[in-house]
């Protein structure tokens, strides 16, 4: 696989989240994703960006366009140096609904993408990588 054009964007505040949504939309359109797939990817990115801002104390996201022979995809890596997640398996559990205010929405975001990978160390930070293929 040859990742091309990695681009990096800051994730510090609400304005950054909006910009990231627009950028993910643009990239998925360029890659020819269906409307539903575009929406899923942008929404997943929005969720993770929000986590980075709200729980990670801010961080950055890296965009990578992937090319694996005949299929193309978009990979987003959200990274922060925040408090980290003490119990990842708990965070990935379902049971997060709107209105409760809590919950990282990770399980939901996971369902919106093809590949989902998370690393986190308490006191060091969190890294979430999501990939969606066309």
């Amino acid at each position: 696989m040859t990742p091309a054009n990695p681009e990096k964007m800051p994730v510090r505040n609400s304005g950054d989240i909006l910009l990231i949504r627009q950028t993910v939309r643009a990239r998925t359109v360029e890659l020819g994703f269906s409307l539903v797939d575009q929406t899923k990817m942008v929404t997943a990115a929005s969720e993770l960006a929000r986590n980075t801002v709200d729980y990670g104390g801010g961080g950055y996201v890296i965009f990578e366009i992937l090319n694996d022979g005949s299929r193309r995809g978009l990979r987003l890596t959200f990274e922060d140096h925040g408090p980290g997640i003490p119990d990842i398996s708990l965070a990935l559990k379902d049971g997060w609904t709107s209105g409760s205010g809590l919950g990282l929405g990770l399980s939901g975001a996971k369902r919106l993408v093809n590949d989902f990978h998370i690393e986190s160390k308490v006191g060091q930070g969190t890294k979430v990588v999501i990939t969606r293929w066309k």
Partner: protein
């Protein structure tokens, strides 16, 4: 090997072109200039990719990017011209003979080195040949997928039964991909026609597995978020049993045995009713 290819590129090229059997060469499909071009580029990419002997075995490494792109290009263009995947792969394999000849000439005095290098080269060329078949297969799969999608879109008619009432008669086996397309088509039609009721009839569906049941429920949930109600009709006893067995909760989704019953419910929800002409 990389060194040898670089040093004797011109000779290897000539030999390779000369020795390619007509069954692989297919001069009826591809002209001399283009063929020569392909071979030249191949040798160049081969030399470049195998330069670093540590990375030489890993086709995914960036050193092989040029070769990968070239092989993808050759494979796709030739297949379009009418080459079989075997012919494309054999084209790659046929570069072994001229290269081995040069290896023998250079390393003849050192049988161990010659054996090692020949083996490594052979493995590498095999990989490259197989790569072309993979490319072929993948583009084939892409074509099939696109055709399937088209067929699905054509075979999932959404029918307007009445103002504000849509019906989606599903026929045949439902798989995950098809159900997803069906779901999207129905939701789109709901918006386009402004229909607040959609009847999904599965009379013509022989079996329903967990995945399909879940997709149906997701469709109903999505429709509700949009402001429309779905009624599932045509659930035969076997399917009802399966759904209960699977433990998939249909929740508060309205289900009816027949499309006709579902239509009556839909009319009622729309505030309509059918009366006999005699009473009018």
């Amino acid at each position: 090997m990389s060194e040898i290819v670089r040093k004797h590129q011109a000779e290897i090229l000539t030999d390779w072109i000369k020795e390619t059997p007509e069954s692989t060469r297919r001069s009826d499909l591809i002209g001399e200039t283009e063929f020569r071009n392909h071979c030249t580029q191949f040798l160049r990419a081969l030399e470049e990719g195998s330069r670093d002997t540590d990375k030489a075995g890993d086709l995914a490494a960036p050193e092989w990017a040029q070769m990968r792109d070239l092989l993808a290009e050759i494979s796709r263009s030739r297949v379009q011209l009418g080459f079989t995947p075997r012919q494309v792969a054999t084209f790659v394999f046929s570069v072994k003979a001229p290269i081995f000849r040069r290896l023998r000439a250079e390393l003849g005095g050192d049988p161990q080195s010659l054996a090692d290098e020949t083996y490594r080269t052979s493995l590498l060329i095999d990989e490259l040949g197989l790569y072309t078949t993979e490319i072929f297969q993948r583009s084939r799969e892409e074509v099939i997928r696109l055709q399937q999608q088209e067929m699905l879109e054509l075979s999932t008619p959404v029918i307007k039964l009445w103002e504000g009432i849509l019906a989606l008669p599903l026929i045949g086996t439902l798989d995950s991909a098809r159900t997803q397309i069906v779901m999207e088509t129905l939701l789109q039609k709901i918006v386009e026609t402004g229909s607040a009721v959609a009847i999904i009839d599965i009379t013509g569906v022989p079996t329903v597995d967990t995945l399909v049941a879940q997709h149906l429920i997701k469709t109903v949930t999505a429709a509700r978020l949009m402001g429309a109600d779905c009624i599932i009709s045509g659930i035969r006893p076997q399917i009802a049993q399966t759904i209960v067995h699977l433990g998939v909760g249909l929740g508060d989704v309205t289900t009816k045995a027949s499309l006709a019953d579902a239509f009556m419910i839909a009319l009622t929800r729309a505030g309509l009713m059918i009366t006999s002409a005699a009473n009018a």
